[in-house]
């Protein structure tokens, strides 16, 4: 694929299996995916095609009986201070090393805002938790302290007392350059302040108040914004949204998608939008990867993919959805159903449902090829205008 310099994530041949009682679920079988720095990529496919498993692999959140059995997940993190890029293969990291990436350099927003926040902790505390975990907050804690002293300066009656406070302020200001480890009380305050800032960033009305509320006191849309705030709290390089707007109402979904579109420009993270809704992709992404039954079938720029879909599955998907601006008596339907991944079809996994299938499709697995510049497809008989 393209030069690795401008990539932030490159998944190569990722294979993940679940070893269940019924048999081995071959959930991912050689996933290929490349995310450019600053890009917003959509990952689409039907239920069970492996979108969420891919996201969990990137964060190494796969639990037994699941196991990553092959492939690479290359993460090119750029140090915000030095600007240097460093390559890491996430698959090879130890669980301990992974802790410093998860939630910090790569963050995720999940589907259901009703079940993901912990019901017993305040919104602010849940955001502050990530901040405390990954940031050392030395400087922020000092700033909080200085601000507090400045407050007390205003209320202080006696001149001697004021002089003493000023002295203290100066002392702390001098430490700002090279902040020591913060003490717990001020670190906590600094983290909370940061949490409120994050809530403000996601356009939450009266963030101070919201930080003090519990998840059940917020509506679905607000909860999802809080989860986005949580994910963005450490300025991650990659933000993954796994069906982040699926459970929301259309008008609320529009609010959240609009927010993501605005934030995209403000935060400089690369975003992976996982969804089954092609509409969401068209609204927010500049490139798309289409998955089917644990494989990558097509990948291209959004415009290119919607105008000239090449893989028979992508074509089927695009014509199967009813569209607002179109009048059609019947929908085109893809026959059959998604295969069972314990015994997936041989060769091309789509062949039992494909109108263009031939013998080679049954026997040989098509590999992902570049058929047009930047347009990749895994099919023996690509359609569309080539």
């Amino acid at each position: 694929m393209s030069q690795s310099q401008d990539l932030v994530l490159s998944i190569k041949g990722l294979t993940t299996n679940f070893y269940t009682y019924e048999g081995v679920v071959k959930a991912l079988d050689g996933i290929e995916l490349s995310l450019k720095r600053g890009d917003t990529m959509g990952v689409v496919g039907e239920t069970g095609c492996g979108k969420s498993v891919t996201a969990k692999c990137v964060l190494r959140l796969i639990e037994p009986p699941g196991r990553i059995d092959g492939g690479q997940i290359l993460f090119y993190d750029r140090d915000p201070k030095t600007g240097e890029t460093q390559e890491t293969d996430i698959v090879q990291l130890t669980p301990l090393e992974m802790l410093s990436i998860r939630g910090n350099r790569i963050a995720i927003v999940f589907q259901d805002p009703a079940t993901y926040p912990n019901p017993v902790f305040r919104i602010g505390a849940q955001i502050a938790e990530v901040v405390t975990l990954h940031q050392d907050l030395g400087r922020e804690a000092l700033e909080v302290r200085i601000k507090e002293l400045e407050e007390s300066l205003k209320n202080s009656p006696s001149p001697e007392h004021q002089a003493k406070i000023r002295e203290q302020i100066e002392h702390y200001v001098s430490m700002l350059e090279n902040p020591p480890k913060p003490d717990r009380k001020y670190a906590r305050k600094a983290a909370w302040a940061k949490a409120v800032d994050m809530l403000r960033l996601v356009r939450m009305p009266s963030p101070d108040q919201i930080a003090n509320q519990y998840p059940h006191e917020l509506s679905g849309g607000m909860r999802q914004r809080a989860l986005i705030a949580m994910a963005l709290a450490c300025n991650p390089s990659i933000l993954i949204c796994d069906e982040a707007t699926t459970a929301l109402d259309v008008t609320v979904q529009a609010q959240v998608l609009n927010l993501l579109n605005i934030l995209k420009k403000e935060i400089g993270a690369s975003i992976l939008i996982i969804t089954h809704d092609l509409g969401v992709v068209a609204e927010t992404c500049n490139s798309v990867t289409v998955m089917y039954a644990g494989t990558t079938v097509e990948s291209a720029g959004t415009k290119q993919l919607f105008e000239n879909p090449v893989h028979p599955y992508t074509i089927g998907l695009l014509t199967a959805i009813p569209k607002l601006h179109e009048n059609k008596e019947r929908l085109d339907q893809i026959p059959g159903t998604v295969p069972n991944l314990i015994n997936p079809p041989t060769g091309c996994r789509f062949h039992p449902r494909c109108a263009f299938a031939t013998d080679i499709c049954v026997s040989d697995r098509p590999s992902l090829e570049e058929v047009l510049p930047g347009h990749y497809v895994a099919c023996h008989h690509p359609q569309g205008n080539l």
Binding site: T251, V252, A254, N261, I334
Partner: protein
């Protein structure tokens, strides 16, 4: 009710759910789930109902089917007032009116074979039993695209789409005239959804059914329906024959339509961003219920409730300024400004 084309008609239908509280569990409020809905449903048509979560779609469907008792209003089915019928009369009516639910797994008993699940209504109503029932069930299953092998299997052996077909088959067992489809494809996949929607259209033609099709997915409702009702906070705000999406007249419909993500990058970025959220149905806003979020709202909107008015061709709109509003680019900007202002 002189119009013989009307199969079912509801007048000023209300359904309130009481809200209790305090030491003695007094009723301290009412959830206005369906509030004064009037609607005629014609024979053989599909009436679509859209709206956001909690706006009262399911409650409306269930109240019409007498699964819930109406708080006020009148339901007339085939010229007969069924608002208060009871006992065997009610059972007879139920045979004519059926419902398909969103979650097919929840409405099928996991320990009962498909044959018995689908045959249950036949048995209960004394229509058929034994081999005759089996034959009828098989006929139904074949109509929805399943085969004889499936007869003795259990629900968990089927995919979501197949289960929904089974539910549809069961619904059709008693040859109903009117079927409420409550989000029938919300839990299925895109490719399966296309299959189910096509099937429902075919069955409608074959059995001469009248549908009420409820969904929050505008594209799906639009595809299925002949006429479409848009609900907001328990009320129908707009009722139109078909092309609502080209010419919405109510500001809420306009916002709703624009918010649907269009799977075509050429049309992206046109969503109107409404500020805030749907208010609580416990204390709905006065006057026009949409006025706190409407950029066109005038003084009259907060004091006087707009009634549904015919704007021609049976296109009903409940807005004081219906037909006078301009939903151009500037309206979208105005909404964006309002949303941004609310956030800060």
């Amino acid at each position: 009710m002189s119009d013989s084309r009307v199969l079912l008609s509801i007048e000023n239908l209300k359904k309130y759910f009481p809200l209790t509280g305090g030491v003695f569990r007094k009723v301290i409020g009412m959830v206005h789930a369906v509030d004064d809905v009037t609607l005629d449903i014609y024979r053989g048509e599909t009436i679509g109902v859209v709206g956001e979560s909690g706006c009262g779609k399911t409650t409306l469907g269930r109240t019409i089917l007498r699964l819930l008792d109406a708080t006020a209003g009148k339901i007339t089915f085939m010229g007969r007032d069924i608002t208060h019928v009871k006992g065997s009369d009610l059972r007879a009516i139920r045979r004519e009116m059926q419902i398909v639910f969103q979650d097919p797994m929840a409405s099928l008993d996991p320990r009962v074979t498909i044959k018995n699940s689908v045959g249950e209504p036949l048995l209960i109503n004394g229509v058929a039993r034994g081999p005759r029932m089996r034959a009828m069930v098989l006929d139904l299953l074949q109509k929805v695209g399943l085969t004889e092998d499936h007869l003795n299997r259990f629900p968990h052996e089927f995919s979501g789409g197949q289960r929904q077909r089974i539910c549809i088959a069961r619904t059709l067992a008693l040859n109903p005239k009117f079927v409420v489809m409550d989000e029938p494809t919300s839990s299925t996949d895109v490719s399966v959804q296309a299959q189910t929607l096509n099937l429902m259209k075919d069955l409608q033609d074959e059995f001469g059914l009248t549908y009420m099709f409820i969904s929050h997915n505008l594209s799906v409702v639009k595809h299925m329906s002949d006429r479409l009702a848009v609900m907001y906070l328990g009320k129908i705000v707009e009722l139109t024959p078909e092309d609502i999406f080209r010419k919405p007249l109510h500001p809420y419909t306009f916002a709703l339509v624009s918010a649907v993500p269009v799977p075509d990058p050429r049309f992206s970025g046109r969503a109107v961003i409404l500020s805030g959220e749907v208010p609580s149905p416990i204390n709905p806003p006065t006057g026009c219920r949409f006025h706190p979020r409407c950029i066109f709202a005038q003084e009259i909107c907060s004091s006087e409730e707009p009634l549904l008015r015919d704007m021609g061709d049976g296109h009903l709109v409940a807005c004081h300024f219906a037909g006078e509003l301009d939903f151009g680019r500037s309206a979208q900007m105005e909404y964006a400004r309002a949303a941004e202002a609310e956030a800060s």
